[in-house]
Symmetry: C2
Subunit: 464 residues, 2 copies
């Protein structure tokens, strides 16, 4: 009995001590949804909308103010979301997102609040539900589903940059109606398809304080463990400031505001989105950066939507790997834009490229020469013998937040310890590629940190 | 052989002579569709739209600029168009018209161009087609179907008085889209449901010359023998200038313009629509007047749409008979507005009233004391003995146009011929009710006419 009491007291002190340490180390920590998101590292976002079927070039400015003439062009006869998800999984994507609605306003599911949906078309006798198919294919393949909702633009209903066209009472009434319609769609999408990894509002959502729909309230009711991206009240991740699939180094996972949308625009826009790109190590909010890019973004093209004859613009593996280093390797999530064709399939060249990309990532990083983990100011990794290395991966245990502020990586060559890299941010993952070096040990020295640093992984590689 | 030749020559001269007479008598003559329309005399127009289901009072000004919050309120569980049509038929309606779309823009059929249609609702799993049901019920009951299309207002899409809301390029693009949508709906409605008696554009349609849709071209392609009502190019009938179910006397079936919509507004609006009400005996265009009124138009109410607690506003039979005299009896067509309830049925009190109305018309006019027909300046009808009369009905054979310009009706009492009525227009039908008279003959003297007058019917009645 006494022993039990002692144990309880010890445990209690332990918990209090831990909590105290946590309190002392005043760094923002991620939610479970943010952890899942960052652990995914690679995410696919599937863009599919009426314009895929119009046979023409995608002209965003024009499309935003021009309704599609005939929505029955939507007719993906061989639609196979399993094929889509398998292709994304081949690349290594652990989360896949679908544009339930994009800028036409057309909804890829059976909406009861937006008539401009799959109920309206002849395809599958008006009974098609691509969101449902998509989510099922995700589950079948062990990929987590996410939903992308476009409410900022709606060429059919007449919405431009959140605002219903017109400046009279009619427009105001239609704005109220549209806001309710948006809340209704979010209600449907949040409640019908199970747990989601992320809900992505395209270009953000206006909250009620800006006369927009109250989508956050609906989201929170149904998806307590999901990334919310984003409105003027909340953002769980941030845009990385470009659509290049990369962020600079350092790119901190923290940010000074709880949102990035519609307010603080001067700060956000300064220096070509510098704050979005780099984050702020002293930011009070955990909000890691995404690095988004379309797979068809090569050689002067940058296309989120399928167009005929665009296969030559699929990014080569080397470019994708470069993105990978500068996104996943920079503490960010790489989001690859994929777009199925009018037949309903991801085109074979895209599928092949994703497979090659996934293979190359595995080839480079599935077999470290050596690995370790640990806490403290210095973590040393012995290779036992001289070996050629050219990559290091370091990961903080971000459950406890980003704590590292300054570090140096060194390799022990025959001439002694030599600097490989002097850095600042590690966060979820830091990948460093360098010229071949012969070393028999590497070490990570933490020069500055917020509280005790916990390194979850410290791997070295010799990539051919 | 010689006899045959003689006969042929005689026939030939006969035809030439007839044609010559026709040419000489320069009066507009009706098309087959207009004949069918005027012979119908009684027409029902069924109003059914989302507002029937909203539980509130119908406020047209507000409704025009306020989209219905939830279109799934449309749920007429016991919809039975047979019941509707039987009720209309009981009143004597030979044509029944349905609002395929009204001012919300919601379409009561399976449109492939307007997503805001029965495809969008849960009712009948999105497969309902009330236009189809309606037309089938018409055929089953020997009633001719007509379709009413509202494109002037669309609270959902944002159309006010033909114009898409807003004044920028976006609005202009949506206007073009809307025009094509309207043409598409007309194409569907004109081609899917067989021969129609009338197509009624609510408040008219703008033609291409006013940047509106080209609905006339589509109509003409599919419905060569149908009343077109109406746009700025054509009108086969005209509004009678009020929604009172009556027109004044005289009400000529001819009109000075080929249309009544959007142009000549000054002339049309003058003296509270005097021209629409009276027509013009010298008008070059055959365009008879309609007299429209809702059945629920009694005691300060005037409601085309079903509302709760409105049964007390169903017009009494005496009022309906008064309308009948002042519409059918004034060379016009009486159009009664009927509106089924949210359950999908015409309410029993309305059904009963229609039955009573039909009975009363039959009671009064199915058994004339005497009838005749004929041509010439004087048509005399002997009753063989002194009899009490109080109604006369006269009909021109309007196949040859309205020819009578001035006439006098007289009854031969024991004191000799006495004037019953001095009039001008007869047209399709002239009904005159008067104080009981004892006569043994009546005569119609044509004082002025365009060419030879042909009286199709000349009936006298003694109505108790």
């Amino acid at each position: 009995m006494r022993k039990k009491l002692q144990l309880t007291v010890l445990l209690l002190f332990g918990i209090l001590g831990y909590a105290k340490t946590q309190n002392k180390v005043n760094v923002p920590i991620p939610t479970q949804a943010q952890l899942t998101w960052q652990n995914a590292e690679l995410v696919a976002v599937f863009h599919y909308d009426l314009h895929v079927f119009d046979g023409g070039k995608y002209n965003q400015q024009k499309n935003r103010i021009t309704p599609i003439v005939d929505y029955n062009i939507f007719n993906p006869k061989n639609l196979d979301t399993d094929q889509w998800i398998k292709a994304a999984k081949d690349a290594g994507c652990k989360i896949a997102i679908l544009t339930a609605t994009h800028e036409t306003g057309f909804a890829l599911y059976q909406s009861d609040v937006n008539p401009y949906s799959l109920k309206a078309v002849k395809w599958r006798y008006g009974k098609g539900d691509i969101v449902k198919d998509f989510v099922e294919s995700c589950h079948k393949n062990g990929v987590k589903p996410g939903i992308y909702i476009g409410i900022r633009w709606n060429s059919f209903f007449g919405v431009f940059d959140f605002i219903v066209n017109g400046d009279n009472q009619f427009a105001e009434n239609r704005q109220q109606y549209y806001n309710r319609m948006c809340e209704g769609m979010v209600e449907e999408l949040m409640s019908r398809y199970g747990v989601l990894a992320i809900v992505w509002f395209d270009g953000g959502a206006h909250g009620p304080e800006l006369d927009g729909p109250d989508v956050l309230r609906v989201f929170e009711k149904h998806q307590p463990n999901c990334i919310f991206y984003h409105n003027s009240q909340r953002a769980d991740i941030r845009w990385g400031g470009s659509e290049s699939g990369t962020v600079p180094y350092p790119c901190w996972g923290t940010y000074p505001f709880p949102y990035l949308h519609s307010t603080n625009q001067e700060v956000v826009l300064a220096n070509n989105f510098q704050l979005l790109k780099e984050g702020d190590p002293n930011g009070k909010y955990y909000m890691p950066a995404m690095s988004d890019a379309p797979l068809r973004g090569y050689n002067g093209r940058h296309e989120w939507f399928w167009e005929p004859g665009d296969e030559e613009h699929i990014l080569p593996v080397e470019n994708l790997m470069n993105m990978y280093y500068k996104s996943v390797g920079h503490n960010s999530t790489l989001i690859l834009g994929l777009t199925p064709n009018p037949d309903g399939l991801l085109p074979e060249p895209d599928v092949e490229r994703l497979k090659e990309f996934g293979k190359e990532i595995k080839h480079r990083f599935s077999t470290p020469i050596a690995s370790t983990s640990g806490t403290g100011k210095e973590i040393k990794l012995s290779l036992f013998k001289n070996q050629r290395i050219n990559h290091v991966i370091v990961q903080e245990d971000i459950v406890k937040g980003e704590r590292v502020r300054e570090f140096v990586l060194e390799g022990k060559t025959k001439d002694g310890w030599q600097t490989i890299f002097e850095g600042s941010c590690i966060g979820h993952k830091f990948i460093h590629q360098f010229e071949d070096m012969e070393v028999d040990a590497v070490r990570l020295q933490i020069l500055e940190s917020k509280g005790e640093v916990q390194i979850k992984n410290f791997d070295v590689f010799n990539v051919n």
